[in-house]
């Protein structure tokens, strides 16, 4: 694997780190299996593509993508909390709808974003090679995000969110409005995914409505890789582990692409990912069974 390929993988891993942290928030903290991200990721990309090609500030584009993602999360939460639609189904409905929404946002299925001002471009003047600058800037962004999120989860509000996900009855008995926590958590989770999409469009050079397919699976794979490597209860480390899991996942993909490695080919990728995610879903169950057995 060449240095450019390696840093390219790190770069994508960091971008999907936003997704991984969002997925962690939904799946692990809120216990809400959320497929909305398959739609909020390309929505973030679409919003960034439209605004950046219209000459808007790329940071503003990211902010708008976050709002767009948050709105998606709120719609899913609304369907679930207000109408009692099963969480998984509610998120599938939002995801399906977003395919059409994303087409509307861009007015076409694919939009190019290259040779535009992005959040990365100002840093190209630092004197480092481009392929190092990108992961460097992204790692700062993702680190700040993880710090803020860890601090949020350690707050009274964040603690209530964790309780709402872990034990709804107990949370209610302690005055936590579980519905409101689901709204907030889903909004944050999908806002992060939207930012991931916006950064993807800026770094990959295009927004495509099909780019959301399998986002949830990649996010989950990152979460489980991170959890396997870092067994911790420290929030900051747990969140950082998701990002590291995402980077490792992308590096593994890159190894598979670099041919001859472990007999893997790009075409085996979906299988490998599916196995990882199956583990993600099975491991906690096995673990809790062990606890009960004790």
């Amino acid at each position: 694997m060449s240095a450019i390929a390696f840093w390219g993988a790190v770069e994508l891993g960091l971008i999907y780190g936003f997704v991984a942290v969002g997925v962690y928030l939904a799946f692990r903290v809120l216990d809400f299996p959320d497929l909305t991200v398959d739609g909020s990721f390309p929505l973030g990309a679409a919003i960034a593509a439209v605004t950046i090609t219209a000459g808007w500030d790329p940071w503003l584009a990211c902010l708008l993508a976050a709002f767009g993602g948050a709105a998606c999360g709120i719609v899913t939460a609304f369907l679930n909390v207000r109408f009692g639609i099963l969480n998984l189904l509610a998120s599938i409905l939002t995801m399906i709808a977003l395919f059409s929404v994303n087409l509307r946002v861009m007015g076409r299925p694919n939009m190019a974003v290259f040779n535009r001002e992005t959040v990365i471009t100002p840093f190209y003047d630092l004197g480092l090679p481009d392929h190092v600058v990108r992961p460097l800037v992204l790692s700062v962004l993702v680190l700040v995000t993880v710090l803020v999120l860890a601090r949020f989860l350690a707050s009274d509000f964040g603690l209530a969110m964790r309780a709402a996900g872990a034990n709804q009855r107990m949370a209610r008995a302690n005055g936590v409005d579980v519905g409101r926590q689901i709204y907030a958590g889903m909004a944050i989770s999908n806002a992060l995914t939207g930012i991931g999409g916006a950064l993807f469009a800026q770094v990959a050079g295009f927004a495509d409505v099909t780019s959301g397919v399998g986002t949830i699976v990649v996010g989950l794979a990152a979460v489980i890789v991170g959890e396997t490597l870092f067994r911790t209860r420290a929030l900051f480390i747990a969140l950082l582990a998701c990002v590291i899991g995402s980077v490792i996942y992308r590096v593994a993909v890159q190894l598979a692409l670099s041919a001859d490695f472990l007999f893997l080919r790009a075409s085996d990728l979906n299988l490998v990912t599916a196995v990882l995610v199956a583990l993600a879903l099975i491991l906690p169950r096995l673990r809790s069974r062990k606890v009960v057995a004790q």
């Binding site: 009274d156 034990n167 302690n174 005055g175």
Partner: protein, 265 residues
Amino acid sequence: MIIVEDLHVTFNPGSPLERRAVRGVGLTLGEGEFATVIGSNGAGKSTLLAAIAGDVIPQKGHIRIGERDVTREAPAKRAARVARVFQDPLAGSCADLSIEENLALAAMRGSRRGFGLALRAERRKLLRERVAELGLGLEGRMGDRMGLLSGGQRQALALVMATLAGAEVLLLDEHTAALDPGMAEFVAELTQRLVTAHRLTTLMVTHSMRQALDLGTRTIMLHEGRIVLDISGEKRRSMTVDGLVDMFRRVRGGEELDDDALRIG
């Protein structure tokens, strides 16, 4: 103070599964009054508690806590004034959160939860002191996962949690039933101590006749959704466990007692 007026709760109304769990209960508990509630399975004890807590919305009747009518208020909203401890030690706390996180969560019951650190230094100190008062040695394990503790330890902490945020009403739903005898006794004593110290208006459902007479100041018996016995003061003091069992038998129309439904001791 709790005032319950002509309360009716029916599950699955109009369906073949219809069950009239509470059929016209009226009850007034003065401030700081501690009543124990007994009755066979299906007598409506838990439903009565659920209605006061807000988990169940009654078809008819009113529930007031203090001056406020809370009949239709959401459970999270009335939690500011109503604290609860459940029968299942797993239900009352979060296994994946640490002891102090669970306590911190309870400490904010009824307050607006902001973005301040949940485990700030002065709060940690306070929580630690409250846990130390239990005498269980848990103050040295504040960072441990709740899930690592025994059922009794969790129930003891659940009682501490219930008293952290200054509730007016405490609802206990057979909170000692799942514990071994030694721990059950400890939790029962702790209950009496905390209720007295915090002047909590308390309703405690129990299956133990002994507990029903030993704890609190008033004993209520429910049968088929109605109050069939309500004793306090001298009458209660002179009541024995045998006498209570006898009464229990009589209200059930002379049926033999079901051992599973009623434990004496």
